[in-house]
Symmetry: C2
Subunit: 606 residues, 2 copies
Amino acid sequence: MESDAKNSVGIIQTQTVRVVEADAPLRLACGKTLGPIDVAYETYGTLNDQKDNAVLICHALSGNAHVAGCNSPDDRKPGWWDIMVGPGKPIDTSKYFVICSNILGGCSGTTGPSDVNPATGRPYGLEFPIITIEDTVHVQKRLLDKLAVPHLLAVVGGSMGGMQVLQWAVSYPEFMDAALCIASTTRLNAQSIAFDAVGRNAILGDPYFNDGQYHGQTNPARGLSIARMIGHITYLSEESMRFKFGRTLRGSTDYTYDFNSEFSVETYLDYQGQAFVERFDANSYLYITKAMDYFDIVREYGSLRQAFAATRCRFLIASFSSDWLFTPRQSEDIMEALGAEGKDVTYCNIYSSYGHDAFLLEAATLGRLIAGFIDSTWHRVRTAQRVRGEKEKTAAGIKPKLPDHAKRVRVDYELIDSLIEPNSRVLDLGCGDGELLMRLVQDKNVCGEGVELDEDLVIHCVQRGLSVIHRDIERGLEMYPNETFDYAVLSQTIQTLRDPQRVLLELHRVARRVIVSFPNFAHWRCRAQLMFKGIAPQTRQLPFRWYNSPNIHFLSLKDYDHFCAELDIHIEQKIPLGKISTLPLRILPNFFAPQAIYVTSKYHAS
Amino acid sequence: MESDAKNSVGIIQTQTVRVVEADAPLRLACGKTLGPIDVAYETYGTLNDQKDNAVLICHALSGNAHVAGCNSPDDRKPGWWDIMVGPGKPIDTSKYFVICSNILGGCSGTTGPSDVNPATGRPYGLEFPIITIEDTVHVQKRLLDKLAVPHLLAVVGGSMGGMQVLQWAVSYPEFMDAALCIASTTRLNAQSIAFDAVGRNAILGDPYFNDGQYHGQTNPARGLSIARMIGHITYLSEESMRFKFGRTLRGSTDYTYDFNSEFSVETYLDYQGQAFVERFDANSYLYITKAMDYFDIVREYGSLRQAFAATRCRFLIASFSSDWLFTPRQSEDIMEALGAEGKDVTYCNIYSSYGHDAFLLEAATLGRLIAGFIDSTWHRVRTAQRVRGEKEKTAAGIKPKLPDHAKRVRVDYELIDSLIEPNSRVLDLGCGDGELLMRLVQDKNVCGEGVELDEDLVIHCVQRGLSVIHRDIERGLEMYPNETFDYAVLSQTIQTLRDPQRVLLELHRVARRVIVSFPNFAHWRCRAQLMFKGIAPQTRQLPFRWYNSPNIHFLSLKDYDHFCAELDIHIEQKIPLGKISTLPLRILPNFFAPQAIYVTSKYHAS
């Protein structure tokens, strides 16, 4: 992503507005009240007449309202997410009205613990009340009221910003069309709390901390810089540190045999600690990390599912493969709870070696995902489209370019299409580029969801406006309640699964009908090759050699018949298929049909 | 492992001996000299007359000489590795003479930075010279000289103790028969250096540190406890912290909305920090972590392979699956370098959720591994056995019990045995419980090594005295130079591999001859079942159903012939086999033989 003038929002000023007056203070989660509250914010782009193009960005621990552009012509660095926000950028300020505010308790313009306590006339210090993520979201809502923004197209945030996104969706379910939660979690795990606690310990124990009353005196710089160093280690991955620093020494090829910083990684941390001390406030660090530790949607609502029950928006949950602070598993928990509640959720685990910091660095991949999700949401809003899926062209009018390896042509798609009843809900396992789902959306107005293992294909589906889960289907579909779908489709995939039995039973649990297509291993060409040539068969439908085939289980129509009988699965339709025609093949199908489609359902006790 | 009186070494006193005199100081790696040096140590068991039963244990960062038993009847806790050391325990003090000493720079009796500097009459503090792992090993050698121990049966250590083990093997290659390096590394990665650096930063920045001259005054307790807390987080895994603490609050069900420690994990860290301050010295913490940061065998010798080139002992390298401080990958690096140098190396990655601390906790699994390795080494020493493998009975005279799932009966073993020339070097891929290797050791006096994926089977092999690598063979065998072996054996496994081609080419690289056996998919029963029944074949050799088979590629003798031709592999012998007889089957083998054995070699350009 270029940061040149053309794609920049340009020079932008941080503004401040009072959202809570002193005489009508805000009641906080801790039970105390706080007022007045001022909020620092920036906006980019223009709110349109329909007021349906507003996007709120929530920042992370050390961020602020200054997302994009520069505050002055001399600024050395643009805003913290300039790669993502600007005209023509993923969050496109030529289309959307973008807002970002400094959070409550912060130190970049919004009321925080180092501001003057009107009751005492000196800085709050530790007299500032403990704030929570929920409190910060309520303050953001006040800001939007002040700005006369009645509704959000999307609320977006990474890390602690993602916590705010989730809180927004839960606290104000009607207020947004889409929630984009990136590299975040519904609650910190013990390890993350531990790192935060050690950092706070270093600040609180700094001899200069003085109960937070260090203003105008020496700052607790050592404590804050130690906290920042610990944080920084958790933002990078072991791999990225190895690549960036390894064991290189700074300034010398020989060990100095003293306790000065000499490894590059040491001097880097020293620098990060020092730079942070110059721009951030120790009190704010205490309050914001505590808010993160306290954030716990499960605790607040009894369970994740209950928390999400009332949400109404679409969700994009994204994680990064090497993020060990807010792990992919934690994002999957969010996705699974939303899926279980029948919410419209898309999940992508982006491959990256950058660790947690990837949400600030993986501009290309994350940008495509975010843009695809926001643009398609806006297109839905504009066309009031009910179904989960767009017309062939995306909102921007561009058909996304398909990666080469994704170009699949499947003779069975047409037939599967014909088997599905209009307006039904369909789960497509191994949905690829979403071709079949798009067809079904267009032809049958289905409500479709996909599951796909390939990251590129997942993003491709998102760009098309489809809801898709990035997952290996063999890992299970526990998140879906029984009979969530009318149809589950497993097209040309069963022969590549490690455990077809488990997957098939799971499909019959989550869907009323299961449509499976596969190549017939007992086709006469296969039989002949094994019988007369004595070799592993190789045909148009099974085109691989024995040693390089992705197909790891081989089955015939008869095998599948037996399989269904054993698993107590009822075969509603069995459609042996020819090579190219979609007309069923009726004579000696297990001998003549190179492939087949089955529609099955499970006998239930009732 | 019980710690009852019967298996305890009982009451034991730490002793101290001067190993370096003031007038003949030791020259250290940093160039400075140090003297006098006293060493605190404990011994258990008795050195035998042959003096061939001595085992040296090296401790980790916060350890000391007190490994086992109690120092007094009132001791609340036994020594730090009491689970591993005692009569009848894995390191059996009824058989072996066990020694452990506090390391140089420590604070438990061996000369360190808080001892009095004879030159100034006050504690060394930061005037103590920087010490290295190599220095500590030289001091340990002086101790053994004092104790008149001329040779070690084994040197054992975990974490930083493992670093000392590697240094021992490199610095004194003739001095030991076995080196057991557990949960360790040849050099810290950037992430570990970073954690150490932040900890040292906290100590050095503590207002009470005073250049290490805090003795008799307030200690830099806050700094040391922060360092310890950071360390502690890295010793546990995320999973074990989640399991042990989760997000539970201590003492209350409600948040306290202040900055006191309230999550269980916080109070645990507070406790660990406090307890550490009471028993450990801040100066020693600085010097020992610096020694770990500096440890770098690659830097010292140019490459790992060069470092290990002169080593003579057997190596056991063990790691723990959830250890993110000293990762399994780092242990594999050691194993691969040793393998590349043709050294006798065994590797096991023990499944554990305990993280790095597992080396102190996984008594059962690690105990079996350590005992198996030391006992079989001793048996070799006693019998002066040249080959890599024991007779059917282990040193202890007990045939290890085989786990049920490992009981494989293979008709092809007998024939493979007959194909291998005496005294050759054999690599058995997927060696299972080591049955074939044991046979080959006994019948043919081969020098055998195994590769096996299953942890239990790996340990079983170790108990039998075999050298085995715990690894998925599809991950590659890069560590072995070309033609390391006379034979590579792949018995009944090729059909279960994801990528048979890559594996087979790799086998032909590392071995002069490759012996492969597999079930014949074109056996007449298979052909008949597909031809006449139209189902996926199921036979005695291919007993699984299509959906639950571990076999994921199917091949016939003819397929394998073609395969070899394509890969430019020369078939030296092709032995079609009957069901039970080991006599070759000569008539229409691709039709009548249910299985086959091939002996192949690769045509080389030369």
